[in-house]
């Protein structure tokens, strides 16, 4: 669905097969664990069995004595000979704990052996003496003054730092207007308390890294990562090693969704390689992934929303507590930026509390912080619509943020497509026929997420046959070789097939920030556009003497170079073949810093459910995802992002959770017990792509990766409420939870 005057593109908007596709359907593509180096050793991590304990002693002698074991490392190796392990920063503590373990699964040592089986045996022989401490797992309990303290030096960042140690990392306050006056002006006020559980990104490929430390200190790392440059920087800091001596080569990546930004294995493999003089590969297993990487926070959110009787939102308040896991993070701070961003509300006050608990250090997961915030807020919007007897979509439309509305952090929105998404939902074939049948309900919800900009850099080289190589530094996590090659083809007027994109190592291209924040097609697309323009300029300069005309006489339009009088002309490929085929090489680059938050994207969901009154099972009958893509570069891949986000949201809503026992152990750390949605659990996911071009991008592109996961939690909860008459305030809406709430038991 095209909303407004879109230019006629030749390549953008088509659906070519991705350049890396053949390798991925034939098994040739090399992922993290597929790197097999000659003579490599296999590494394994020793992990804490306790949720909170002081490390009294680590004895590695028996492990080292085992035949086939080549080295063991601990935090002492990070600190260096004679270094003080107690002062290592959080990032170091999280990969090799020194003084204390703060969650079960935290790594305390690592082994390198001639094969993985021996490494596993050696891990069991490492003896760690612990003094077990009381632990805290619940975010609100952890905020209480009598909670076990994780970090004695922590004081709350924010208006009330307090005197003593606390688990509250930060208190973020965002306030606009006059909240008390705002609520006084309301005719209807709704409020409720919501909670969500810690969930995992659930990428199918476990983390895996190989490191090779050469005698001259050159360190080479191959890893499955969402950021080869950030990984290089993290390794440089953690290992106190010059960044210029580290080369990170990103392998193909088997999913990340935010969970493969941090380093876990890379510096440890490097230490083991330095000790042994051999390449060392460490691969996580699935338990390592669940217990030892970074899931996304559980939350406790209290929200209040008021409106006048004609449906205009006047005031909103939220108190949001987000688990940061074992170390300080900023999840709640992000929540304050997004929870009300979809609507024009004059009076707003938001309190965000980032809180440490004895769980893994949390990380981003697709639109981090936003789905839980929307789960709470969008249910109140639904309640308000019921109370006011208004259509829930029309109520949202009446209040929707638009160009000029106050956006996150108080800055006005540029052109955004929230209203257009809502109109598309209202006019959709899904929304119009009413849902029929017993125990069924329909729910809707909106979602907002930023578009991160940051730094991107690409190199473009012309080959003698006039084709073009595009080398970029961002991992291709879901089709960005294609979406970037398409933007270059559009810029220089050639066929998609004439561009050969590649993802290269950190030595071979300028700096690129993370593959995250929905930023690669957007920001690296800007770098590609820049490089394409530079290429045309350089070719024009080189063409002038050949054509014997001044440079100013040559124009480039629609893929063709020509003189202004029309006497001479040639396509890009013809000219490139002439100029480069017989001349010197031609390489240009394009580098941008697209800002931190570069606009935003809205998504919407319509979902029909059926709730089995006897078993409590929620079945998703029908789902329509609607999203503003700005300009859909490759519509099939845009649909794929929307569908993938929707189904991750379905899992989060009805099934997924970190289930802890009393000792602080995750009791369901396998794909059998932590059950991702399967093909049997979901229907086809219908999509409606809305295109309101982003004024911040040369082709109007918006990042599309993340917004699709924001609405489903709330949309499904609203649908369940309409099916059963009971509001769902806690996730997951598992069969047990549904029965407890609908039958009033438990």
């Amino acid at each position: 669905m095209v909303i407004e005057n879109k230019p006629k593109y030749k390549v953008i908007g088509t659906r070519p097969v991705r350049p890396d596709g053949i390798d991925k359907v034939t098994g040739r593509a090399q992922y993290g664990a597929d790197i097999h180096m000659q003579g490599a050793l296999q590494g394994r991590m020793k992990r804490s069995p306790h949720a909170h304990a002081i490390i009294k002693n680590i004895d590695v002698s028996k492990a080292l004595a085992l035949d086939g074991v080549k080295a063991v490392v601990t935090a002492q190796d990070l600190a260096g000979p004679g270094g003080d392990v107690s002062t290592l920063p959080d990032a170091a503590q999280n990969i090799l704990a020194s003084r204390k373990v703060l969650y079960r699964g935290q790594a305390v040592a690592a082994v390198a052996a001639i094969n993985d089986h021996i490494a596993q045996e050696a891990v069991k022989l490492i003896e760690v003496e612990y003094e077990v401490l009381p632990h805290v797992l619940d975010v609100r309990e952890s905020m209480r003054p009598d909670a076990p303290i994780l970090n004695e030096t922590m004081r709350t960042r924010g208006p009330n730092p307090g005197d003593g140690a606390t688990n509250i990392v930060a208190h973020t306050v965002a306030a606009f207007g006059d909240i008390e006056r705002g609520f006084a002006e309301c005719d209807v006020i709704v409020e409720n308390e919501f909670s969500t559980k810690m969930v995992h990104q659930g990428y199918i490929e476990p983390q895996a890294a190989t490191a090779s430390w050469a005698p001259d200190g050159q360190l080479s790392i191959w890893t499955t990562t969402q950021g080869s440059f950030p990984a290089r920087e993290a390794c440089a800091q953690l290992l106190n090693h010059p960044i210029s001596k580290i080369k990170v080569t990103p392998t193909e990546i088997g999913g990340g969704f935010g969970g493969k930004i941090s380093v876990y294995l890379e510096p440890v493999a490097a230490l083991l390689s330095r000790k042994t003089g051999k390449p060392v590969a460490i691969r996580m297993d699935r338990i390592d992934v669940f217990e030892g990487t970074g899931p996304t926070p559980g939350t406790s959110i209290k929200v209040k929303l008021g409106a006048t009787k004609d449906g205009k939102f006047r005031a909103a308040y939220a108190d949001m507590a987000y688990e940061n896991g074992a170390f300080a993070g900023s999840a709640a701070m992000y929540a304050t930026m997004v929870i009300t961003a979809g609507y024009e509300i004059e009076h707003v006050k938001l309190d965000g509390f980032d809180v440490v608990v004895n769980k893994p250090r949390t990380q981003d997961y697709r639109a981090p912080s936003a789905p839980a915030a929307a789960f709470a807020f969008e249910q109140l919007v639904d309640e308000l619509a019921e109370k006011l007897k208004l259509d829930p979509l029309k109520l949202r439309l009446m209040n929707a943020s638009k160009e000029g509305s106050r956006g996150p952090m108080g800055m006005p929105f540029k052109r955004v497509g929230h209203e257009e998404c809502l109109e598309a939902a209202l006019n959709s074939p899904h929304y119009n026929p009413p849902l029929e049948g017993p125990n069924r309900g329909r729910g809707v919800a909106s979602g907002f997420w930023f578009n991160v900009g940051l730094r991107s850099s690409v190199n473009v080289s012309v080959q003698p046959d006039g084709t073009v190589n595009l080398n970029e530094g961002n991992t291709d996590i879901g089709g960005t070789r294609a979406s970037l090659a398409m933007q270059l083809a559009e810029t220089i007027g050639v066929a998609f097939e004439d561009i050969k994109p590649g993802v290269v190592d950190t030595d071979s291209v300028g700096v690129n920030d993370v593959t995250a924040g929905s930023r690669v097609t957007f920001a690296s697309g800007m770098a590609v556009h820049e490089a394409g323009k530079n290429l045309i300029k350089e070719l024009t300069t080189r063409l002038a003497p050949t054509w014997q005309v001044p440079v100013e006489e040559i124009e480039f339009e629609d893929g063709t170079f020509k003189t202004k009088d029309g006497a001479k002309s040639g396509t890009f490929k013809e000219i490139a073949t002439q100029v480069v085929g017989r001349g010197v090489g031609l390489t240009v680059s394009g580098s941008v810093n697209a800002g931190f938050l570069a606009g935003g994207g809205f998504a919407h969901a319509i979902v029909d459910v059926e709730v089995d009154p006897e078993t409590g099972k929620v079945t998703i009958l029908r789902y329509t995802a609607i999203q503003d893509a700005g300009t859909a570069v490759h519509p099939a891949y845009v649909e794929g992002q929307m569908q993938g986000g929707a189904v991750q949201g379905i899992g989060w809503a009805i099934n997924e959770e970190y289930y802890y026992d009393e000792s602080g152990r995750m009791a369901n750390s396998s794909f059998l017990d932590y059950r991702l949605p399967t093909s049997l659990d979901v229907p086809m996911i219908d999509t409606i792509i809305v295109e309101v071009p982003n004024p911040l991008h040369p082709f109007g592109v918006r990042g599309v990766g993340e917004p699709g996961i924001v609405p489903p939690l709330a949309a499904i909860a609203n649908a369940v409420c309409h099916a059963t008459g009971v509001r769902q305030t806690q996730l997951p809406m598992s069969p047990r939870r549904i029965l407890e709430t609908t039958l009033g038991i438990g």
């Binding site: 992922y31 664990a33 199918i204 193909e252 969704f257 089709g479 490759h634 794929g640 093909s679 049997l680």
Partner: protein, 163 residues
């Protein structure tokens, strides 16, 4: 640990001999001993299907089969699904229908879907969803994968296999 056992099996049409420890899984043998890394490890306990291979005509998780069990058997892995430059219809439709994003689960899905369509060329959406419930994908939401399998079934019915 114990000594290594001599194993001989037909893998992707070729007779292959290898030595393996009794504790090594077939997945480990394929990936670490034979260099065939197309079969992936996602869970190592039979829950994700990323290591699916067809062994003696039956779809199995290679992580749950021991390498020594391959003795005298016939195994098809993702590396053996295409014939030379000719992609299998499933490989073609996975590309044309954009049925992969990160691609880590793709080999398992293609092998699993091949095992289904070889026996049930008329499988419908419900049957395909049921059969593929042993394969986890976290990127696509399954929509385009199911479409790709339906489209491949269509192609295969119209053009009978050469083999």
């Amino acid at each position: 640990m114990s000594g290594r056992t001599y194993v001989s099996a037909k893998i992707n049409g070729e007779q292959m001999d290898f030595l393996c420890e009794p504790r090594q899984s077939l997945l480990e043998v394929l990936r670490d001993e034979l260099g065939m890394t197309g079969s992936k490890e996602g869970c190592n306990n039979g829950n994700c299907g990323a290591c699916n291979v067809i062994m003696n005509g039956v779809l199995v998780n290679a992580c749950c089969v021991l390498g020594v069990e391959a003795q005298g058997g016939t195994i098809v892995t993702i590396e053996g699904v295409a014939s030379g430059e000719d992609l299998h219809p499933l490989q073609r439709t996975f590309l044309d229908d954009a049925a992969l994003q990160c691609g880590i689960c793709t080999p398992g899905f293609i092998v699993a879907a091949k095992a289904l369509l070889d026996k049930e060329p008329d499988a419908d959406e419900a049957r395909i969803r049921h059969w593929l419930a042993g394969n986890l994908c976290r990127c696509t939401g399954y929509d385009k994968i199911v479409h790709a399998v339906l489209d491949a079934a269509d192609v295969m019915r119209k053009t009978p296999a050469k083999v």
